[in-house]
């Protein structure tokens, strides 16, 4: 047994693992503060973290050649999972995002964060000698398929993240400036169309609420206002106990999931946020160092894409909680309560860890 752990740890980047543990400890602490250390959420999250860490270990020893080889099947299975959700998913608050497995609800769109980049990156070698434009168009198409399915759940936030992961790969893979400009232009042209035909009223409302949350303080603006109050009242060192906290009195709902950053800000203040950012920065820095130093182009690309998704989701969540961004249901990576998201990120980091360990074996 001892040998098994030694085996596992020898394959793990120590720095990365320590920062990861600190972050997960943060998560537990914040969830405990948000909903109580004796609540079922806290114990479930504890269980998720343990399970997640075991998954992390197991994935770390995975042979990635196998992953790349079956990437098409993995992609098709992921899409099937999305379709399955569309037909048999559990509807919560008007959107079908979850597949109910009894003990565990899986948010199927999360899987795509993981599998879409694997599939795209595995295609890089295949398209090595084809025209760049063709590659990019194929990649774009492959990315749009899950995007549209997720958009119809509806879950604009997750859909955009999936689409973005595809776009990041295309960009990192050397998309020319000309095409970037064409892309931006096309986006601007399509924007009014999307506003009218694709966005639902509540989504438009959320975007409008961003501009003036007080115009509609009860409906869409409520979260934005209460969240700003929670964060703002935290001050430099966090709110002292003489003041009642926003989340204790239930003014700010969903504190253990999407709005957990508000709990951090309220309880630990600006200084707490800085420390939190610092830990995340060190963690991300380690990820970047590992990613950049991988030996194969496709591995680097995959690792960098995962890092990008991670940072992007992290920033979008905080921007959303601080009222800089419309409220899209994107949880704070590694911190928010929930199994699906946690497992996906831990698998991502495990894959990066594995690529790192195996980099000497594989080189371009």
């Amino acid at each position: 047994m001892n040998n098994f752990f030694t085996f596992l740890f020898s394959r793990t980047d120590k720095q990365l693992f320590i920062f990861l543990l600190i972050i997960l400890f943060f998560s537990l602490n914040l969830i405990g503060q948000a909903v109580g250390f004796d609540s079922s959420f806290f114990f479930k999250q504890l269980l998720f973290i343990f399970t997640g860490l075991i998954i992390f270990m197991l994935v770390s020893i995975l042979n990635l050649r196998f992953l790349f080889r079956y990437s098409l099947i993995i992609y098709i299975l992921s899409i099937l999972l999305l379709l399955l959700t569309a037909f048999f998913g559990t509807e919560i608050n008007g959107s079908k995002r979850w597949l109910d497995f009894g003990i565990f609800k899986l948010q199927s769109s999360e899987i795509l964060k993981l599998t879409l980049p694997i599939f795209l990156v595995s295609l890089i070698d295949y398209f090595k000698n084809r025209s760049q434009t063709l590659t990019e168009l194929v990649f774009l198409s492959i990315s749009f398929i899950p995007f549209f399915i997720i958009l119809n759940q509806p879950d604009l936030g997750s859909g955009l993240i999936i689409l973005f992961s595809g776009l990041i790969i295309i960009f990192l893979n050397g998309l020319s400036l000309k095409k970037i400009l064409i892309g931006i232009l096309g986006f601007l042209i399509l924007l009014p169309y999307a506003w009218i035909n694709i966005l639902k009223d509540y989504q438009k409302g959320r975007i409008l609420n961003l501009i003036d949350p007080f115009s509609n303080p009860l409906d869409g603006g409520y979260h934005a206002i209460q969240s700003s109050i929670a964060i703002g009242s935290g001050g430099l060192f966090g709110k002292s106990s003489e003041f009642s906290s926003q989340h204790d009195l239930l003014f700010l709902p969903e504190t253990h999931t999407d709005f957990i950053f508000a709990v951090l800000s309220e309880n630990y203040g600006f200084l707490g946020n800085i420390i939190f950012f610092l830990i995340f920065f060190l963690f991300v820095y380690r990820l970047i160092i590992i990613s950049v130093n991988l030996h194969s182009h496709s591995h680097r690309l995959l690792a960098m894409t995962y890092v990008m998704i991670f940072i992007l989701c992290f920033l979008i969540n905080i921007a959303m909680v601080t009222g800089l961004f419309p409220i899209v249901g994107i949880p704070l990576p590694l911190i928010s309560y929930g199994g699906s998201s946690l497992f996906i990120y831990l698998i991502m980091f495990a894959l990066i860890n594995s690529l790192n360990y195996n980099k000497t074996l594989i080189a371009d």
Binding site: F171, N173, S228, G234, G235, Q246, F270, L301, T322
Partner: protein
């Protein structure tokens, strides 16, 4: 391949740079929220969870002098709806749902929405006042269906003898927009009225509002987002209103109401010694209980459009020509100025010719009163005697003399909108008509006609001053307010003049007087003065009581007191369009005084 790595890392760095900018933006935002605007958000977070709930003060009770209750508070259960953050549509839905289990009238609905639009700071608004036990139990069983509807204990103002005391006690009503403006301009008032729904609108309820209301308190509590109680932060108790014990006697109120029942008019009876009002009655009357929670339009129209004006307080808010009731007061002025004396007499042919003119003034008695001295002039109400007196006295001395008896001034009774009437004088004429005084107007004034107007309250107050021969405190509605008024006040005039006039008023009820009908039935020694006031001057036409429209008939007046050898109570009665003073007003006064002595002895 090195090239592809170079491109990749550069691209990666570009993305990192963009995201760093994003991070910088977030950091600035956090600094803005947590450092720069920290105070603002701390305050918001406090107010988020703090709620101030009013504690209403209990309105003071009103009793008569014998501890009979005239205004009380009845415990009721009201249905109140939490209106916070609800649109009109939401509220209509709630009310619609409610009306499937309880009856909610259109009127109740209107009042609810009216209050909602007017009272910005109220969170819960009563929808149905005073629900009965059956409705209460039924609602409680269905309460779970109505999270925003609560049953609140409240006190409903009630006037058990409403109609008998309507003008005196007045009523409270829901605070109107206009009241609210007044309240909101005064921070102290705003505190006192916090959470209050009613305000005194008329009568004593209005004029003693500050004493009766008290001061509301508040409870500051901490609640969570679901509005559940978490903790109490501060509790300031309400200061309940003071009870009032009136000088009024409920039995007299009932009697006077009964006596006036078939007339339009009013009656006021006072304790001569201390200006306390014992009876205060105006008819037609109304039920003040209708107003307490907002009168319906139909009821309001009925009262407001009634030509008999039931809402009008005819004791202090209406003024009439005092007619011959003015003569005793005028006599004092004549005696003081040596125009007449006890022995001075004239011969009355039934008319008076104004010197230096051809104007003839008739006496009410065509054949005249013959030889008339002051006592006989008062007893028989000889017009010619007073025409002559007035002419020789002149308007200035006349109005100066009458002013001492409070004519043309408010009596100071603590009731809203008392009218001061008109005491004609040179100055008054110049000011209001921009004209010089005519001699014939002096003649008209001498019999309480012309521009002369006074209220029944003024007449009784004047009579009290005369009988006490000293300035009297304002008519008082509160028991024992002026118990030591008799001490050390300068006399108004020589006591002997008062005695002469009193003798005249005593003669009024003798077999020669205008109220001789009670000459043989005057056990309570009533003295007084009748009056008949012209409403309309008939030109070249004989006044025929049987042949004239009701509203043009003379007003019938009587002022009086008893017993004449030791005056205790005074009274003034006016019956609009009642005809002669001696035939309507005086008998009512007599019955009233008899009742007083019968019940208090």
């Amino acid at each position: 391949m090195l090239n592809s790595r170079f491109i990749l890392v550069r691209r990666f760095n570009i993305l990192l740079a963009i995201l760093s900018l994003f991070l910088l933006l977030i950091a600035i935002r956090l600094f803005w929220l947590q450092i720069y605007k920290n105070d603002f958000y701390l305050e918001r977070s406090k107010s988020n969870s703090e709620r101030i709930e009013p504690i209403k003060s209990l309105r003071g009770l009103i009793f008569d002098r014998n501890d009979n209750i005239l205004a009380e508070n009845i415990l009721t259960y009201n249905l109140e709806v939490d209106i916070e953050n609800k649109s009109t549509e939401d509220l209509n839905n709630i009310i619609g749902e409610l009306s499937t289990i309880l009856s909610i009238s259109e009127h109740e609905r209107d009042l609810f929405f009216k209050m909602r639009s007017e009272r910005k700071f109220l969170r819960e608004i009563p929808l149905k006042i005073n629900i009965n036990n059956e409705e209460l139990t039924f609602f409680v069983s269905k309460k779970f269906l109505f999270p925003d509807v609560t049953i609140k204990e409240d006190f409903l103002r009630s006037y058990p003898h409403g109609i008998e005391n309507a003008h005196l006690i007045g009523f409270i009503n829901r605070i109107s927009k206009k009241d609210l403006e007044k309240i909101e301009n005064d921070p102290e008032m705003l505190d006192a009225y916090f959470g209050m729904t009613h305000i005194g609108k008329q009568g004593i309820e209005n004029s003693f509002e500050n004493d009766l209301r008290g001061k509301s308190g508040f409870k500051k509590i901490r609640v969570n987002a679901k509005n559940s109680f978490i903790a109490e932060i501060e509790n300031k108790k309400a200061l309940d209103g003071q009870d009032l014990i009136l000088s009024i006697d409920l039995d007299l109120q009932r009697k006077s109401h009964e006596l006036l029942k078939n007339y339009k008019g009013s009656l006021i009876m006072t304790d001569i010694s201390n200006s306390e009002v014992l009876a205060y009655q105006s008819n037609p009357s109304f039920d003040p209980n209708l107003f307490v929670n907002g009168i319906s339009f139909a009821e309001w129209d009925k009262l407001n459009l009634d030509p008999d004006k039931p809402m009008l307080d005819r004791v202090t808010n209406a003024v009439y020509p005092p007619g011959s009731t003015i003569k005793p007061f005028l006599s004092i002025a004549g005696l003081e100025n040596n125009i007449i004396n006890e022995d001075y007499s004239i011969s009355d042919p039934g008319f008076y010719k104004l010197p230096k003119t051809k104007k003839i003034f008739m006496d009410w008695k065509k054949e005249g009163h013959g030889n008339v001295n002051i006592v006989k002039a008062i007893a028989e109400s000889c017009d010619v005697y007073f025409y002559d007196l007035a002419y020789r006295l002149g308007i200035e001395k006349m109005s100066d003399g009458l002013r001492k008896f409070s004519f043309g001034q408010k009596t100071g009774i603590n009731l809203p909108s008392e009218k001061k009437g008109i005491l004609p004088s040179l100055e008054w004429k110049l000011k209001h008509h921009k004209k010089k005084w005519n001699a014939y107007e002096t003649i008209n004034t001498s019999i309480g006609q012309g521009d002369f107007l006074s209220s029944p309250a003024q007449l009784v107050h004047g009579l009290n001053i005369l009988l006490n021969n000293k300035p009297m405190p304002p008519l008082s509605l509160i028991k024992d307010k002026f118990s030591d008024v008799s001490l050390g006040v300068k006399k108004i005039t020589d006591e002997k003049y008062i005695e002469i006039v009193k003798r005249g008023m005593q003669e009024v009820t003798s077999s020669n007087g205008t109220f001789r009908s009670i000459a043989n039935n005057n056990n309570n020694k009533i003295a007084g003065k009748t009056g008949t006031a012209q409403v309309f001057s008939l030109k070249n036409q004989a006044y025929d009581e049987n042949n004239i429209a009701d509203h043009l008939k003379d007003h019938s007046l009587f002022i009086g007191y008893a017993p004449y050898d030791n005056p205790q109570v005074s009274i003034a009665v006016i019956i609009e369009n009642g005809g002669h003073g001696s035939t309507v007003a005086a008998p009512i006064a007599k019955k009233m005084l008899d009742f007083y002595f019968e019940t208090t002895k």
